[in-house]
């Protein structure tokens, strides 16, 4: 987090509204800072990567994950209940002829608990508008070239329903342990804009 915009007009407006709310008792002193710390300590793409690595190494887990995302991530200590109400998690597995990619066309719904804060491009009108019309072209912009025979499914997230992609385990990783495998998984792979 840089302070470079600290003197921007918005920064001053935010400080003003915060002070006003504190003065009127709608915000406790220190509450904002506590929330910022809690947010920073919250979700991380490492959580999503750990889930994927388990699914790659444990076929039973993979089956449970695809059948009921919320129950399966709870086995590893994760939850989609960080907001005021629990969100339904659906996990879709990529396959030899099948690729999945996630968007929130209306805004920015995203499994923050498993991926951390979303990247700017995910929230951009460019991604939201285009990936549903031309997923293959958009994936190509991300460097993902899929055979014409691969079926691409685009999942549109909502307030109640969130999605996570289970990428294909890369070839030549038979000797790797769960932790090393998790290290291969990227945030984009979990959204579907990268292969792993």
């Amino acid at each position: 987090m840089s302070g470079e915009h600290a003197s921007s007009p918005v920064a001053a407006q935010v400080r003003h509204v915060e002070a006003l709310l504190e003065e009127r008792g709608w915000l406790a002193p220190g509450e904002v800072d506590e929330r910022i710390d809690a947010f920073a300590a919250g979700g991380s793409p490492a959580h999503g990567a750990a889930i994927v690595a388990r699914a790659w190494t444990d076929p039973g887990y993979r089956e449970r994950l695809l059948a009921d995302g919320n129950a399966a991530i709870a086995e590893l200590g994760y939850s989609m209940g960080g907001a005021l109400q629990e969100q339904k998690l659906t996990v879709m597995a990529n396959g030899p002829d099948e690729h999945h990619v996630v968007v929130c066309t209306l805004c920015s719904c995203y499994p923050i608990a498993l991926l951390g804060p979303s990247p700017g491009w995910y929230k951009s009108e460019a991604y939201r508008s285009r990936v549903v019309r031309d997923p293959r072209g958009v994936l190509r912009e991300f460097g993902v070239e899929l055979p014409a025979t691969t079926r691409i499914t685009v999942w549109d997230a909502s307030a109640e329903s969130r999605y996570l992609v289970l990428p294909r385990r890369p070839d030549g990783t038979d000797g790797l342990g769960e932790e090393e495998l998790a290290g291969l998984v990227t945030r984009k792979g979990l959204i579907g804009t990268a292969l792993v």
């Binding site: 987090m1 840089s2 302070g3 470079e4 915009h5 600290a6 921007s8 918005v10 920064a11 407006q13 935010v14 400080r15 003003h16 509204v17 915060e18 006003l20 709310l21 009127r24 709608w26 915000l27 509450e31 904002v32 800072d33 929330r35 910022i36 947010f39 920073a40 907001a83 005021l84 968007v103 066309t105 209306l106 805004c107 920015s108 951390g116 804060p117 990247p119 700017g120 491009w121 929230k123 951009s124 009108e125 460019a126 991604y127 939201r128 508008s129 285009r130 549903v132 019309r133 958009v138 912009e141 991300f142 549109d156 307030a159």
Partner: protein, 94 residues
């Protein structure tokens, strides 16, 4: 009726820009806006659907010009005024 936020399939948007090593927030005030919103939601000043609605009814030209967290802040102040927490003048610091 669809509103400006409903951009799925809309044509005319440019190529997608990825920012390498993007930080979670680009300025401190963005983190403050997220925290502020969380506090108001927990306190029941407004709910998540109302917040979303307040973003979606930002006039199209402003919606498209504003950054992500500028939209959030605009929605928060709209709701604070509508809920009678403070007047628009007080919120603007006028």
């Amino acid at each position: 009726m669809s509103r400006i936020n409903d951009v799925g399939g809309m044509v005319g948007f440019p190529a997608i820009v990825e920012e390498p090593d993007e930080p979670a927030f680009h300025a401190d005030w963005e983190a403050h806006v997220v925290a502020l919103n969380g506090a108001m939601l927990r306190r029941g000043v407004y709910n998540l659907d109302e917040f979303r609605d307040a973003i979606e009814r930002i006039p199209p030209e402003e919606y498209l010009a504003a950054s992500y967290y500028e939209k959030w802040f605009r929605a928060i102040t709209t709701l604070l005024a509508e809920k009678g927490i403070a007047t628009p003048e007080e919120l603007a610091g006028a």
